[in-house]
Amino acid sequence: MPSRQASARYSAFGLLRRGLTHRDWPRVWREHDLAPAYDAVIIGAGVHGLATAYYLAAKHGFTNVAVLDKAYVGGGGSGRNTAIIRSNYLTPDGVRFYDRSVKLYESLAAELNFNVMFSQRGHLTLAHNDGSLRTMRWRAEVNKLEGVDSEVIGPKEIKRLVPFMDVSPEARYPIMGALYHPPGGTIRHDAVNWGYARAADALGVQIHQNTEVIGIDVRAGQVRGVQTNRGPVSAPVVLNCTAGWASLVSAMAGVALPISTHPLQAAVTEPVKMFLRTVVVSGSLHVYVSQTDRGELVFGASTDAYPSYSMRGSLEFTEELAGHVLALMPSIAKLRLLRQWAGLCDMTPDFSPIMGITPVEGFLLDVGWGTYGFKAGPVAGETMAELIATGKTPQLIAAFDLARFAEGRLVGEKGAAAVGH
């Protein structure tokens, strides 16, 4: 296993020295020739694939692993999301799972030696009617039972947290209360991708960019390897960690999925002085807002109304978004949008992911992450690594298996996942 020089470790002193001299900046990860065989092949170099590779190497000693991506590290959903982290879900299965992810994110910077800029600034989900207030109370109670910090607060406290919010009863969509989740917050999503890639590379995992999987070899119900644009690779375990292309990659192995792919658009404003500390989400208005450390407001919304693989932005989205944001914060009407973009979301019928084994032995899934995949990256990686290393499905993801759809065991998270980022 190639070892990394000690000088490659990031530190404040190293940053100062290299910043002054601009000499020997270390490479973050290496390039390799594609080997004919690996112990495991992971398709998709986003946060899920890279985290799985990292935990395979770090916790289980599996280093003969290749992560393949048809483009570049973190170029899909992992680099297009709005980088919000939270665990205030609705079902006990969902809450336990995402809470483990928040815990892993809390120690990630130290573990990876990479500043991921996790900022636990608090997360507010607004309720504009009795129905959503009831769901907030339900979520708060489930959260508390699972040991997750969540509570329902009233308009006065909301105003204290976000002074710019219109909480008057005369508002177009009056705010009746909110689910307040202090451990929630934002993170630098590129840093998470790069940090996992660098740490996995240092442990011997090979990351292959511009390596597109064009076929999956299955013989006698067992996966044998993959065909790529750089040649064939054999492996007893192939993990599909793609988002947006999950159905197409799984179809190569003959596994049909209950997924439809929808674009989700987001937008960012010009930077302004810090005024919004917490993440603000309104399910009824289909919008979520947070302010980055640079001062830009990041807006996200619900997915487009029809499935598509197109990542073009639309004017309808921008108009609707602006209208909804102004209903919450009329004072930002003069802010200008800097840019908008779209990512692809693989929506499942119950708004929960699909993780674990398939009818094809050795072909594993970590897909169907809808609009909530980024926040689950670390725990998905940890549990998928355990599944690959031990051959046993960890309890934490047992409820998310593919067989649940045919067997009628759906894990309904729509009430907490549909827009609430």
């Binding site: 598509s308 045919a406 009628g408």
Partner: protein
């Protein structure tokens, strides 16, 4: 924004329609097992390319309309155009106008 050719109303903006899903074979409700029925309900081809699908013209004739759409470029053409799509082509007997092809208004 793109337009959908409604056979009853003509070319209309997509905002007038609700996507009702890709067309797929429905098993016989009398004989299907619960597993077969759930597989029919949930599993989709979700193809990237030309697909056959049903849209509901909610702000127009309020009828279900079958079209072909390219899911990467969002080009749309009438259901009876050109070569059949590679996947998700519906077997004979499924009528795009039938409620079972769309699942009803939400």
């Amino acid at each position: 924004m793109f337009q959908i050719p409604c056979p009853h109303c003509g070319l209309r903006n997509v905002a007038e329609f609700r996507h009702a899903g890709e067309q797929r074979r429905r098993p016989d409700p009398q004989t299907a097992t619960p597993e077969e029925w759930r597989t029919y309900l949930y599993t989709q081809a979700n193809d990237a390319g030309w697909t056959r699908e049903t849209w509901y013209h909610r702000f127009g004739c309020r009828r279900f309309v079958g079209v072909q759409r390219h899911t990467v470029t969002n080009e749309v053409r009438p259901a009876d155009t050109g070569p059949a799509p590679s996947v998700a082509s519906p077997p004979a007997g499924i009528d795009a106008g039938a409620p079972d092809a769309g699942g009803g208004a939400m």
